[in-house]
Amino acid sequence: MSVLTQAERDALVDRHPDVFSQSRGSLISKGAVAASVAAYFAFAWWFFSIGTVFSEGRWDIAGSYLADWVSYESRPDIEFGEKHLEIDFPRFDPAGNDPDPEWLAKETAVVERTVTTATQTVSGGGERSSSNSLLGTIGGEAAPSGSSGGSVTSEADSQVETLRQEEVVRAVVDMSGAGAIEIVPGLVTVTRGGETMIADIALDEAVTVRGELPEWASQKAPGAKVIVSFGFAGRAEIEDDEVKVRHRFLGWENFFFDANSPFWGKPAGEVMSLLTSGERVDPTRSNLAVACDNILYNSEWQHYDVWLKLLQTIVMAFAGTLLATIVAFPLAFMAARNIMPNRLLNQASKRFFDFLRSVDMLIWALFFTRAFGPGPLAGISAIFFTDTGTFGKLYSEALENIDDKQREGIRSVGASPASVQRFGVVPQVLPVFLAQSLYFWESNTRSATIIGAVGAGGIGLKLWEAMRTNQDWENVAYMVVLILVVVFVFDNISSTLRQQLIAPKQPK
């Protein structure tokens, strides 16, 4: 390769002016295309009011939702008493049923206090209020269920007594190295990165910070609650009656065993030794059986259900595509002009295919969900109907493009019409048919996920339900990973088979 000199370039430009200086018309048309695209985007910006939507988006929540994909929060509330503290974990906290995590150090002492005992009949308020919004309620903060003291006392039978008992008087929360919160009745000390913030608590009255607020803390009004941020490690809200700690950990909590399992919280080595040689946890079953059962029915991750739904999706794609192939095969012969001489029948079946294809998969899915109830039957039917149309069209086009010589050859030896098709036509088109079916099988695995969400069953529905609660983003991540793996595997199977069909390797 050599580079042109300037003189040579100039000479070239002079010799071919039509190439180097574009005509005004083409410049104008290019400019017009660019301008109309820009104008269209401006229109779309206005039409969908994108600016408003973006500025009203809950970006702060988006961050915590995204963090939820790969991490989890433990949410203890530390309530102030006169002289003691009460540490309260919400139900179903990842830290377990009776939590005493290492990062929350407690100091106890014998304290004298007056207690009002009351027999309470708690009417359990709905934990997740449902709303008409499709995604369910979006709580301002991901409020821990059960922490709001909204229990209703219907019958209070109270009496006052003085108790002397051991209570927590000091708690230190270690925020994974990002900082620490030390809490004693009436005083909260927060340290982060060498800075210290001290807040005095006037019980049920006000929170007062000594000195200036550090950058990582915020307070809306004097006396109001102080929000302290530790970055990814979590945050804390210091209120006048309690400190709400939100401590975030990387990972998927309790992925194998939930807190009700006897294997919960044990290190992997110990679990393994329990499984192989340990004493039976449940005398009626082996430890392995118990462990499998616990994993499958893990209340938080619902492995069994997720895998079942995943299988449903796979089955939907497989059965729908195969059924469509079987039905479209004979119909395509009917629609192909060169095989069925009846023009009316050709046109009728082609329009029928167009109809099936153009009434979209979504519409079929909605119809069949309504008819068969939510579940894979609706999904199979939707894929079957849409793809019968698609396959019919593709197959009949392939049939119309066949090489006629083979057919003539078979016909010339006096074969019956059926044999002519079988030996003259089918061998030519079968690999193409199968390749097309395989291709759609692969793409239907993806579609089945999506139509699942409108009610046609499978992992799509499960995924959609998990997203609606706005709290189970880690489950969403888990299912997405499974879907990606399945799609990847099926892509590879399908493309390998297709390559074999279209260009088979010569046997040695």
Partner: protein, 326 residues
Amino acid sequence: MSADAAAVTGGARLSEEGLAVERHWRELASRRRLYTWGGIAFLVLAMSGSLWFANETNAGKFFDRLPYFFGFIDQLTPRGPLEIWRAFWDLPSPYDDGSLKFNYPEGRVYFTETLYVPEYIYKMVETLNIALVSTLIGFGVGFVLCFIAAKNMTANRWLRFFVRRFMELLRAFPEIVIAGFFLAVFSLGAVPAIIAVSIHTIGALGKMFFEVVENADMKPDEGLRAAGGNWLERVWFGTVPQVLPNFLSYGLLRFEINVRASTIIGAVGGGGIGETLRLSISRTHEAKTLAIVLLLFLTIVAVDQLSAYLRRRLVGDQAFEFGRGS
């Protein structure tokens, strides 16, 4: 057609080599038959297993639900043939009893005092716009990325590898999850649908684009290189003019697909006609449902035909491979 018949009736004795050939042929044929029947048996087994499983895990069994199915078809029959027409154009219905079922005129979107667009056509336009905006965004970003992913344009293996995996991820990531996430951030509306469909389109178009670029003729590129053109100039003057018709054709194909995709995303909360259809079906508003289905059907047919016509003009018949791409 069997070989024995030919061997017996043909009369001519085969030589040693001929027999070996025949033996080999028979071997191959029987192996082939075995594979065929084995494959069919496997498919039959898998199919019956699948159907049994689907039936077992469905909310209702197939044969139990079949009567409901016909009942449902019955429910979908409008009270008069003109009802569909009225629902389509938002004309007042004679059956109007104040219920949601017959309140067609309430959906009208007025531009002036008297000029209005029927609700469903407005919603359909919204869906079409979602599809168009996402196709344009996907086209733009895919256009930029594809040259970085193409072997003949980018020498750096790692950069190429990274860009390709990135596009694969965008393509394979379920649209529904992206839509769900942004629905949580933005609340209901079209913007989450645009984002979800765009992200998928970037991946899908990017892949098709870089395959086109890799098949491009490199002679113009070499010429530009010889004249001292830099990377951008080589791409812009050497490759783009060759690949642009193919790009546009794929873009149009994507637009067809995106119209369907944005309808589906709409049905799960992304606005547009999909949402309207889902609500209407679940509330058994027969005339409204049929009007929407009719509108969707007509739109999809029109978009398909238009795009097919344009694609044929752009690149000829070669662009007509498998309908919906990855």
